[in-house]
Symmetry: C2
Subunit: 423 residues, 2 copies
């Protein structure tokens, strides 16, 4: 299929009219670089730099221990969470920022699985999909093993059937909303309803969702969710993650990573555990404040950003990139380039994945040209279009650069040693 | 008992001759403040400020995703760990920095308990002491509950007897080396040997140990340990924590918080879990880099610091403080002030705890006079003497200030609302 694609002038016009253009001015972006890896590490909001300087030179160095109160460090997990709540369709008191996505996934998966089995001893199946993000896969298996439950993995298209097949024994359905490789979006509404109809609880990983598109956790009656602070939320490398618990589960939620920050009376230093009344029961040890304060400040980059406009821009960006490659007949050339993301914008997140046998070398050649995407074994290129700061012309220019690299075969596989990056 | 105590001039002389005096110049310390809460939040090493500025403005903002390789973010957990290894008598490859103390405790306690029961199904007892740090208490109970094992809690002096009583069923002995309230030091050598002789494994929490005094984990054949990055290691508020696994356990250690950073081939993104060969199997999600890099840099404050001298100075500081109170007859006055730490320096860590019915108000009055300690419910004052940056005259002056507050009864309970601080 060959589409005309928008011209560069049309893309420039889209940027001029972009109702979210103001958001880009909130970011530090290197001159001349097209950054398409915000799905791995979001760009730095300018305000973070000064915030961290204050956090170190004033609050830590001068305020010392007093800053837990006077600089309000103690309530940073709740403050950051309340900013995330709007982005995922939750109430502030259903969300908390803590630990990593992985650790939060462990907490909620264990909590849900145990509660389900307590309710009905037959419910011992954790269902997930093949190709889930590796940590999710590992944790699903680990928790099933720890609780002596059964892990069932099926391909994505088999999920509805698997829910039906295991309906009497289904405890938890755990899925990642937007696939980290292809960017394919799961039908959150349909799968949640279907699984719940058969008595299961549903735990969504929003790592590639939050900050890139709206989701409506409360409206869809999702049970649990976790997500990442350093991708589309731009919280900085390894920023703390978030966890969501639907209000109806809060009072009974029992998770195993208990620590004094999650106690009903943390400063009484009591010997026996009693969980905080609300979402704070998910807190465990002391949060890494410098990273947490960076995230809290970074989230202000979403101030005044309409999430429907954000999603519309995201779809426009990925569409421009794909259409430009199509108009250059990039997928028709006989060199193995293939689209690995859904062709329909509504079905993909804020990234475009391409396959090519020389994917690694191509990504390197693009980096040399100032276009940063990333590579995933064995043959995948990922290009993330963070709609807060990527422009329409960037999508256009990136596709052009890719096409030129492909045509000129300017990559040279031998030059590049194996590189390591972090998703 | 009334001791003469050293004069202020003698304390000044000790500072002049202090072979560790160079270390204090590495810290940012507010003018005119005597900071005795390094057992709760260590002071900021000066180098951290610039390191974080580089981490944000250059590495994150400019380097973006490339900094995982080019700024060597990816290996920061190992680098920070190798600096901690020297402080706790371990080899660098037996230590890793990750998550919080609490989360690491959960990993290692679960790993040890499960391995012990696999070896011998009768071994289902986790033994700890009453008054352990609350998170340790909660996690001991939580893990025992999760694994359907039994938690036994006894008073500290009953531990040897309890080891004997439960010897056939003992799986894990979990203790905190230096008590967070009294500062009392456990006999690590004796308790470790005793428990191991009866087939148990031993997991030490070094939260109030690491950076304040040397310990010899390898030499004492300790099995597992965890510790805190933000107290005497000065890594910043909520800094990531460390975990130690004796080499002999590394190859078989199986812990439940599995994530892709702990995989044998993290960048292959494989569906099934295979642990890294070494200590990296304790890694889970992506580390909070800003907090981690702060810790890594902060640890350089220990460069060239002889740990025996560090311990000697620590004992001198706490002794000066106690002796000065004794020479002022502070404990004899009929107002209820009592020493809550061991009187013998060798038996206490780097802090002095005092009891008084008006402890909260006294701590506040001291803060008003520029002496920062902290309060713990219901009647405890803690004064931490971080030997890297606290001077002998500080210990002298702090005792004098306390005595003056007590004599003048200058505190006023009604003035102070309940305050919250973080241990």
């Amino acid at each position: 299929m060959r589409t005309a694609g928008r011209s560069r002038a049309e893309c420039e016009a889209l940027d001029t009219q972009d109702p979210l253009a103001f958001a880009r001015t909130r970011f530090a972006l290197p001159e001349g670089l097209i950054y398409l890896d915000g799905n791995s590490l979001g760009a730095m909001p300018l305000a973070v730099s000064q915030r961290l300087r204050d956090a170190t030179d004033l609050e830590w160095a001068q305020g010392l221990i007093r800053s837990w109160n006077e600089a309000h460090w103690y309530t940073a997990p709740q403050r950051a969470a309340s900013k995330i709540a709007r982005l995922i369709g939750a109430d502030p008191d259903e969300v908390i920022v803590a630990d990593s996505t992985s650790v939060n996934l462990f907490k909620l998966l264990t909590a849900a699985a145990q509660a389900q089995r307590e309710r009905d001893p037959a419910r011992t199946v954790v269902l997930t999909e093949r190709g889930n993000f590796p940590t999710d896969s590992y944790l699903n298996a680990s928790v099933a093993d720890l609780l002596d439950m059964e892990l069932v993995r099926v391909d994505a298209h088999e999920l509805p059937q698997a829910i039906w097949t295991h309906r009497a024994r289904l405890a938890v359905l755990q899925l990642t909303h937007v696939d980290y490789k292809s960017g394919r979006i799961h039908d959150m509404a349909g799968l949640t309803t279907h699984a719940q109809m058969h008595g299961a609880q549903v735990l969504w990983d929003l790592a590639h969702t939050a900050g890139a598109m709206p989701v409506a956790l409360d409206a869809l009656r999702v049970d649990f969710a976790v997500g990442c602070g350093y991708k589309y939320l731009n919280g900085g490398p390894g920023a703390p993650a978030f966890a969501y618990v639907a209000r109806r589960h809060l009072a009974t939620l029992k998770q195993p990573l208990v620590g004094w920050h999650g106690h009903a009376r943390p400063f009484a230093f009591e010997e026996d555990w009693q969980p905080a009344a609300g979402i704070e029961r998910l807190l465990c040890g002391t949060a890494p404040q410098l990273s947490l304060l960076a995230l809290e400040t970074a989230l202000d980059a979403f101030d005044g950003v309409d999430l429907d406009l954000l999603r519309a821009k995201s779809m426009a960006l990925t569409s421009i990139f794909i259409e430009q490659l199509e108009s250059a007949a990039a997928f028709e050339a006989d060199d193995g380039l293939a689209l690995a993301s859904p062709r329909v914008a509504q079905e993909r997140g804020s990234q475009v994945a391409l396959r090519h046998p020389q994917a690694y070398a191509i990504v390197q050649a693009l980096i040399d040209r100032g276009v940063i995407g990333d590579f995933r074994e064995p043959d995948l290129m990922r290009f993330g279009f963070a709609p807060l700061y990527v422009r329409h012309v960037d999508a256009f220019d990136a596709a052009r650069a890719l096409h030129e690299v492909m045509q000129g075969r300017t990559w040279d596989q031998a030059r590049y040693a194996q590189r390591r990056t972090v998703t």
